[in-house]
């Protein structure tokens, strides 16, 4: 499902920083993978590359059989639209839109009819157990609830790939665990491929596979039986 071969990413500044150095890895469809590593190890960069938010300096990335190199920005957006759902650490909800509107936003961007989009958004909010908060604004929700809205938004088109950047990083342990179990639950139910960047050891270990990055390189790739 996700395939990286020899991906390198450099950031040009006053001094060139090599965030990723020749990373190659393969994530199969339906896998739930956690990506760990110390600050600056390149996990977020890797996630952004896979999420088509950024382009690698060299190397190739293939998503669901589609090679990303050579695509224009709009083509990349098209890929992102169809295949990827994002969950951010800071939720990145639009504060002026209600939960329903936030969730329906990607659908609107895809040109869905309002009724159809709302129906789907409701469905998704029910899925994340927020059917009672549909008309609320993000400001009126707790952190966990917001993240659930964000997850619902990420799932709006049932993308085959779900990318999460520290989804529990901004939440307390209890809420974090709740969100995590929600993600796992959705993963099982919807069969999406999940790649999750995390600092949290327990979060990482809850995934069947953990990739450890250090200084822009994959240093370890652990496969384990998922704990239940």
């Amino acid at each position: 499902m996700i395939q990286l071969s020899n991906v390198t990413k450099e950031f040009d500044g006053k001094r060139t920083v090599r965030a990723l150095q020749g990373v190659s890895l393969q994530i199969r469809k339906g896998e739930m993978v956690s990506l760990v590593g110390p600050s600056g190890s390149g996990k977020s960069t890797l996630l952004n590359l896979i999420g088509t938010l950024d382009k690698p300096t060299s190397g190739e990335i293939t998503l669901d059989g589609q090679l990303l190199s050579g695509l224009t920005d709009d083509q990349l957006t098209q890929v992102r639209r169809d295949k990827i759902g994002f969950i951010f650490q800071f939720f990145n909800l639009l504060p002026s839109l209600s939960c329903l509107e936030n969730v329906a936003l990607p659908l609107h961007l895809r040109g869905w009819k309002k009724a159809k989009a709302s129906e789907r958004a409701r469905e998704l909010l029910t899925l994340v157990n927020l059917d009672h908060r549909i008309e609320h604004l993000p400001d009126e929700l707790s952190g966990g609830e917001r993240q659930r809205v964000a997850i619902a938004r990420a799932l709006s088109v049932y993308p085959p790939i779900l990318l999460a950047d520290e989804p529990t990083g901004n939440l307390d342990t209890h809420t974090g665990a709740e969100i995590l179990s929600l993600v796992r639950d959705l993963h099982q139910r919807l069969g999406a491929t999940v790649l999750m960047v995390t600092h949290d050891r327990s979060v990482a270990e809850s995934c069947a596979r953990t990739i450890i990055l250090r200084d822009g390189q994959v240093v370890e790739d652990i496969n384990r039986e998922p704990r239940l």
Binding site: Q78, F86, F90, N92, L94, H108, R153, V157
Partner: protein, 850 residues
């Protein structure tokens, strides 16, 4: 100071363009203020300097309006014990017939004695020739010109120079050249001196003088002498210092001044909103930074002061640039205003250098900085209220504006109520102006609320246009009324300004056009000079009879126009054959009995006033005017008021008989000639020129030419208005650019999220574009409404205090309609840049943007 450098400067540097755009309003406001007033002052200064140069050592001048007085007044003046030297003067403006040299101001003076008053600074080298006043006086064709003039024209001593005189073109001999200082430097050297008795002859003055220049015995106070002379001569004469001529000019320029002040107030208002807007957003964006500062021990007062200092500096920079721009504007304007010289002297003088008054600049600086600080006040207060704990928590937005908007709305409603109350008391000046102010303020305070209402109304439309982008754009507007309302307010102010200016221009044009159709009925207008405002060359009355004898001429009306002083203000006295005029001209009657008032005026029972005279001087039918005539005050009852726009300061219409009787002046400025029906105008004009052109200087304007001339004058008058409209539109556009730049920066993350969740670049672009257009629409809608109110007030101001013109309220739909594509187009245009920045920037960065 350290904080400013460490904290503020990096932020400004990062947003340099935005910072510059923010100052735009201040720049323009200050620029218009400084430009207009500097131009005014410079022209006034140049004017006064010219007056000084011409006046020489003259301490007092005796005049009787433009009418002049008989020679024996001179001896009466000379007999006064205070008077040391009194010399007669005639001023006339002539054309030289030399291409590109324009007019020459000819000063007729008594060469036997005048030299003690004026230093002609004749060239030493030619002393014996030039300095031979005997030859000079013996030969009436003698003139002295300035060195500059000889240099420009290549003429030399004893060269011949042809000038247009009342006796037709005549040759003069240059018998003296003045060095280019003092007197000779007035009007850039376009000045000539000749013997006064010769001048009487060639300029048709008979045995009259225009003026007497006086110097007093040493030690006598000018003011005391003025009073004594005035009482000795009687009220038919004006005894005043030469500089009072400048004061008359000031009165004319005042109209411009007031106009410019109004515009600069608007521009500053607009600037206020731009700054408020930018600072509000800056406070939101720098929340984190403020939090850190607070965490490090900065008090909330310090934070507030920091932001206030920033706004003060913004104001300072804006004002400084504005002053620079203003001085540049002043240069252009000074030339423009210089045309007023022609009104007074017949010779235009440019302000040679534009010199700005330090006091003016200081007050401009103060106004600019003040405006900026006022604008920064609320944002600074909000910055001070930032909670350090919350601010340092990433991803949380502190909402601090809820109460403020309600307060604002209530205040707005209160102001509106006040405005309505003032409107009912509108006849009292102070209430009238306060009402105006309150109205504008109320609308501005209501802008956020209006933005929300209108935004909601607009949403379906935008959505219908582009379901996704439209809705997003509308939501963006609705979500942050604070961000939007600043621009919308600025924009609507600009639009209102344009509507007001456009409305008054439209109304004026319409009024003037209908007046011209009523008043200007003759086929020909015969004048002694190309410009009808030039009254220094006059015809003998007898010419009327001769014109009448020409076959094809049906009727001739002799008209004498002269400026006289009515309680200190120069107004226009029009002496005409009222019987004939009443038959031919149908001026709209405002007061009095149209059927009888001309007849009564014809019998010398009184005068008819123009509407603007009545309004500006606050007189009505039945009042008695006291007019200065040579033998004392002439009391003339007002018989009626008619609509007439001949003169900006008002006209007094009087029968020629009465004028001749009281003023003893039989000369004529202009003849109005009616031809028999079916006469060929071109042929008639040629015939008249052939018959009379040889012996007297005359210009024949056809009806159409005169109307065109007046239209051109009107255009010129409104030229400044169009400049102001242009400035207003420019500010509006800058305002939109500013807000969008700021708004996009503010929403960088939001736009990133949109893209992250699948927004295509075109969708983002279109969202921004539509938002821009929506802002434009809101600004236009509110502006059109505010403009309607503004126009009402500015028409009232014009009627009451400026021109006394009774103008109809006509909403300038054409201009309003033109504004729609202009504003929307520039909104769209100014959105292109920010939109591109938004879609081209790094998404990763945008998402992390804080």
């Amino acid at each position: 100071m350290m904080l400013l450098r460490l904290i503020s400067w990096p932020y400004v540097r990062k947003h340099l363009l935005r910072a510059l755009l923010t100052t735009a309003g201040i720049v323009l406001g200050v620029a218009v203020f400084v430009g207009m007033h500097t131009a005014n002052q410079s022209v006034l200064y140049a004017f006064n300097r010219t007056v000084d140069r011409i006046a020489g050592a003259t301490q007092l001048q005796v005049t009787a309006g433009e009418i002049g007085f008989s020679e024996d007044v001179l001896e009466r003046v000379q007999a006064q014990p205070d008077v040391e030297v009194a010399v007669p003067v005639i001023e006339a403006t002539v054309q030289t017939g030399i291409a590109g040299q324009g007019n020459l101001l000819v000063l007729g003076v008594d060469m036997t004695g005048d030299r003690s008053l004026r230093d002609y600074d004749l060239e030493k080298a030619d002393d014996t020739i030039v300095d031979d006043p005997l030859v000079f006086i013996a030969q009436p064709d003698s003139i002295i010109v300035s060195r500059q003039f000889t240099e420009r024209t290549g003429l030399k001593l004893n060269s011949k120079l042809t000038m247009q005189t009342m006796q037709g073109p005549r040759q003069f001999t240059i018998r003296g050249v003045m060095n280019s200082e003092g007197l000779a430097s007035a009007f850039g050297g376009s000045l000539a001196v000749m013997d006064i008795y010769a001048a009487q002859l060639v300029f048709g003055r008979g045995r009259r003088f225009d003026r007497i220049d006086i110097s007093l015995h040493p030690g006598i106070k000018v003011d005391d002498a003025r009073r004594r002379l005035q009482s000795a001569l009687g009220s038919g004469f004006e005894v005043d210092t030469p500089s009072s001529r400048g004061q008359q000019f000031e009165a004319v320029a005042q109209v411009y001044s007031m106009n410019a002040t109004l515009t600069s107030i608007f521009a500053l208002f607009i600037g206020l909103f731009l700054i408020y807007n930018t600072f509000s957003i800056a406070v939101t964006q720098r929340r984190n930074e403020i939090g850190i500062l607070r965490a490090l021990g900065a008090s909330s007062g310090l934070v507030k002061r920091l932001f206030l200092a920033e706004s003060a500096i913004t104001g300072l920079i804006g004002s400084t640039i504005g002053i620079g721009v203003g001085i540049l504007i002043a240069r252009g304007l000074a030339t423009y205003l210089g045309t007023f010289f022609a009104e007074v002297y017949g010779v235009g003088e440019k302000a040679q250098e534009v010199s700005a008054d330090p006091k003016l600049l200081l007050s401009a600086l103060f106004i600019g900085v003040g405006t900026s600080v006022v604008a920064g006040w609320l944002p600074a207060r909000n910055a001070a209220r930032v909670d350090p704990v919350k601010a340092l928590q990433k991803g949380r937005v502190q909402v601090i504006t809820e109460g403020e908007s309600r307060l604002r709305r209530n205040l707005a409603l209160l102001l509106l109520a006040g405005a309505v109350a003032c409107a009912t008391l509108g006849h009292v000046r102070i209430f009238f102006y306060s009402g105006y102010m309150l109205n504008v303020l109320a609308v501005l305070l209501l802008t956020p609320a209006l933005c929300i209402w209108l935004g909601k109304a607009l949403r379906p439309l935008l959505k219908w246009l582009r379901p996704v982008e439209g809705a997003l754009a509308a939501d963006s507007l609705l979500q942050s009324p604070r961000r939007t309302s600043g621009t919308v307010a600025a924009l609507s102010l600009s639009v209102a300004l344009v509507v007001g200016l456009g409305g008054i221009a439209k109304a004026s044009y319409e009024s003037i056009r209908s007046w011209m159709d009523a008043a200007l009925s003759p086929d020909f207008f015969i004048t002694g000079s190309e410009t009808i405002t030039q009254r220094s060359i006059r015809f003998p009355e007898e010419l009327a009879g001769e014109f009448r004898k020409v076959p094809g001429v049906e009727e001739v009306q002799a008209v004498r126009t002269a400026r006289i002083l009515y309680s200190g203000t120069p107004v226009m006295l029009v002496a005409a054959d009222l019987r004939s005029l009443a038959e031919r001209v149908r001026l709209q009657v405002i007061e009095g009995d149209g059927a009888t008032m001309y007849k009564r005026a014809e019998r010398g029972e009184g005068v008819v006033l123009s509407d603007n005279f009545a309004l500006l001087r606050k007189v009505k039918t039945g009042d008695v005017l006291e007019l200065p005539a040579p033998d004392g005050m002439v009391k003339m009852p007002v018989l009626g008021v008619v609509l007439d726009y001949s003169d900006q300061n008002g006209t007094i219409l009087m029968d020629r008989g009465a004028y001749k009787k009281y003023w003893g002046d039989p000369t004529v400025n202009a003849f109005r000639i009616y031809l028999n029906a079916g006469e060929d105008r071109a042929a008639m004009r040629q015939k008249l020129l052939d018959q009379f052109g040889g012996r007297t200087r005359l210009f024949i304007m056809t009806n159409a030419e005169l109307k065109q001339y007046i239209t051109n004058l009107t255009d010129q008058w409104f030229g400044l208005t169009y400049v102001q409209i242009f400035v207003a539109v420019l500010v509006a556009i800058l305002g939109i650019v500013n807000t969008l730049t700021v708004s996009i920066a503010d929403r960088k993350r939001e736009l990133g999220v949109l893209q992250a969740v699948g927004g295509l670049r075109n969708q983002i672009r279109q969202t921004i574009w539509m938002e821009a257009i929506a802002i434009g629409v809101l600004g236009l809608a509110i502006g059109f409404a505010l403009g309607a109110v503004h126009l009402y007030y500015i028409l009232e101001v014009t009627r009451r205090d400026l021109a006394g013109m009774r103008l109809d309220y006509r909403y300038p739909f054409a201009i309003a309609a033109t504004l729609i594509p202009v504003i929307l187009g520039s909104a769209l245009f100014s959105a292109i840049g920010p939109a591109e920045t938004a879609v081209r920037g790094s998404l990763v960065e945008a998402l992390e943007y804080e």
